[in-house]
Symmetry: C2
C-alpha cells in the first residue's frame, strides 16, 4: 500500500500505480457513434464502413491525446467498432495501440463469455501486454460475462494471469433490467452475490501489495446501496463502475466503491466526456475546438470524484 511500489507485471498493481500517478480513478469510455461525432469529423468522412472507421480512429485518438495526461485508463467499447466490420476492428486495434503509446491502460469492453477452447481463443485475442501484429487487439483488461459459470471463466483467468492482464466480471450492471436475473433471490441471497463470491475467490487468490487481484467486477453506479454491499463482499476485487454521468450516477453514488485509501475502484464516463461538445455548458465552443470540451468535462469529473469520494485521498499520495 505504499506509493513507492514499482509498477509490476500484475494488472492490479499496474492499475493501482496508474490511479495513484494520475491521482484519480476516473476513466474515459471510448464509445464512438457517427451521428454524435463533432461536426468536423462527421463532415470530413463519407458513410462507408472504411470511412466511418477512419473517423472513429481519428476521433478516439484525439480524445486519447487530450485525456492521457489526466486519467489512468480508457475503456473502448468494442461493439461500435465491430459494427463497422473488419475496418472497424482495425480501427479498434489502432486505438488500443495509440492509448498504450500514450501511457494509458486499456480496459476493453467486450463482455465475452464462452467455454473451453472458445473461451481460450477469446482470452488470447483480447488479453495481454504484448499488443503487436500477432495480437492486435490485446488489452490490459477486458470485461467478461459470468452466466456460463466457473469453467468458462477459467481460461480467461489463467490467460490474464499469464500475461499480467486483468478481468472485470459482470456482477451488477447499471441498466434497469439488470435486476431481472441479477437480483433474483437464489438460496437466500441475490444472484449477483453468488457471482460476487466467485469473483472474490478469484481476486483473493493473486492479490498483490495493493490488496487487489487480477480479477475484478463490474458494478453499476446506478445502484449505490448494492455498491457498498459489493465493495464489502469483494474486498480484493477492483471494481469497474459504469453508469456515471449520462446514466445518472453521481460522485456521491460511487463513493462506496472505494477503499479507505481511495483505491479499489475506477469510474467510467463515456458519453459525458467524449461527446461533451454537445452538452449545454460547452455548446458555445466553436466546432473545431471540441477537444476543449473533452478536457473540461474530464477535469470536472475528476474534481467531482475528489470532492465527494475517498478518491480525494489520492491527492496526498502522488509519488
Amino acid at each position: 500500500m505504499t506509493d513507492s511500489a514499482p509498477e509490476s507485471e500484475n494488472f492490479a498493481e499496474r492499475l493501482a500505480a496508474a490511479v495513484r500517478r494520475q491521482r484519480t480513478p476516473a476513466i474515459v469510455g471510448l464509445d464512438p457513434r457517427l451521428e454524435q461525432l463533432p461536426v468536423p469529423l462527421r463532415r470530413a468522412k463519407g458513410d462507408r464502413p472504411e470511412q466511418q472507421a477512419a473517423a472513429y480512429r481519428e476521433f478516439c485518438q484525439s480524445v486519447i491525446d487530450v485525456v492521457a495526461p489526466l486519467v489512468p485508463a480508457v475503456k473502448p467499447q468494442s461493439a461500435f467498432f465491430e459494427q463497422l466490420g473488419p475496418a472497424g476492428v482495425q480501427a479498434l486495434a489502432d486505438v488500443i495501440r495509440h492509448a498504450r503509446q500514450r501511457g494509458l491502460l486499456v480496459i476493453l469492453d467486450v463482455k465475452r463469455g464462452d467455454i473451453g477452447s472458445t473461451a481460450q481463443a477469446y482470452a488470447e485475442a483480447y488479453l495481454g501486454l504484448g499488443a503487436d501484429d500477432r495480437r492486435p487487439l490485446a488489452a490490459d483488461a477486458i470485461t467478461v460475462s459470468p452466466y456460463l459459470g466457473d469453467d468458462s471463466l477459467e481460461p480467461f483467468v489463467a490467460t490474464a494471469r499469464q500475461h499480467g492482464a486483468g478481468l472485470f466480471v459482470l456482477v451488477k450492471t447499471s441498466n434497469p433490467g439488470g435486476r431481472q436475473f441479477q437480483d433474483l433471490q437464489c438460496d437466500g441471497r441475490p444472484l449477483y452475490r453468488h457471482v460476487a463470491e466467485h469473483v472474490e475467490r478469484l481476486a483473493a487468490a493473486d492479490a498483490g501489495p495493493s490488496g487487489y487481484g487480477s480479477v475484478g467486477a463490474v458494478v453499476g453506479a446506478t445502484y449505490p446501496e448494492q455498491l457498498a454491499e459489493l465493495r464489502a463482499a469483494m474486498p480484493h476485487a477492483w471494481l469497474l463502475i459504469p453508469g456515471f454521468g449520462n446514466q445518472g450516477g453521481t460522485a456521491r453514488d460511487v463513493a462506496a466503491g472505494f477503499d479507505a485509501a481511495g483505491l479499489g475502484a475506477v469510474v467510467n464516463n463515456s458519453r459525458g466526456i467524449i461527446f461533451a461538445h454537445s452538452l449545454p455548458q460547452y455548446k458555445s465552443l466553436p466546432a473545431d475546438r471540441w477537444q476543449e470540451a473533452v478536457e473540461a468535462a474530464t477535469r470536472e469529473m475528476i474534481e467531482q470524484l475528489r470532492s465527494d469520494t475517498p478518491a480525494g485521498k489520492l491527492i496526498g499520495n502522488r509519488r
Copy 2:
C-alpha cells in the same frame, strides 16, 4: 405446420423450411483451429494472422461446399476468427457470405450481451438478411447472453424482427460449470427456468405458422433431463443444441428437444465433423481427401438423428 408453407422473411419460418428441405436438424459448427486443420491447409500457410485467416477461410469454405447439400445451417464460432484480429474478422465475413451463397442459413455464435445503444450496435452488426459491404458480418441469427436482463435483450429482439433474423438466448449451456449459476434455485426454481420463461414470452409473441418465434434458446445436449423440461417450458422457442459429439451428447440425448413432427430443434456438431479427418474411422484417408471425412461424418450424424429422434419424421415431409 404444412410442408407447403413458403419461406417467409421470418427467421423461425425460414429455419423450419430449411430443416424440412434438408430433412435434418443437423447443423455444422465452423470452429477453425490452426493446429487441427487438415495437413494440406496447415502446410500451405505461414503463421502470421493474415496467413492463418486465409487458411481458415479456405478451410471453412471447403467445409461449406461439402455440407451445403446436406444440412440447413452452419454455425461459425466468432472467437476463432476474432483471435486473428481484423484479418480474421474479414475471413469470417467471407465465410458468412460463402455459406449464404450456398443456400445455408448462418447462425453466428457470438454470445454477445450489452445494454442500450451498445446492444443496438451489436444487433446491427450481426443481425440481418442483407449481409453486404455495409454490414459484412450480418447473419441469419446469433447467440446472446441473458445476464444483463430484459432491456439488454430488447434491442436484439427488435432488430432481429425488423430484419427477419433470429436469436438464441443462452439458457442451459453444455459445459459442466454451467450449473454453477444456471442451476441455482431462485424463488423456487432454477435460474435457467427464469431465463426460459422470458425466452418463451419473446418467442410466443411472434410465433408463425411453424409454431415457433424468432427468439430461441441454447440448451446443451449434455443435460438430457433439462432438455425435456425446457422443451416443455418453451413450446414456441427453437432450441439450438450444442454439445453433440465431442462434448459427449448423443442422438438419444437430444431426442427430447424436438416436437412431435421432428421440428423445434437444431443440433450442432463442430469438431466431430470439421475435424473428422483425425477421427479413428477416417484416419486412413489420404490427407488431401479430408473433405470425404467431413461428408461421411455429416451423413453419420444425420442418420443417428433420424434413427434415434423425432427428426426421423422429417423424411416423409420432404416437399
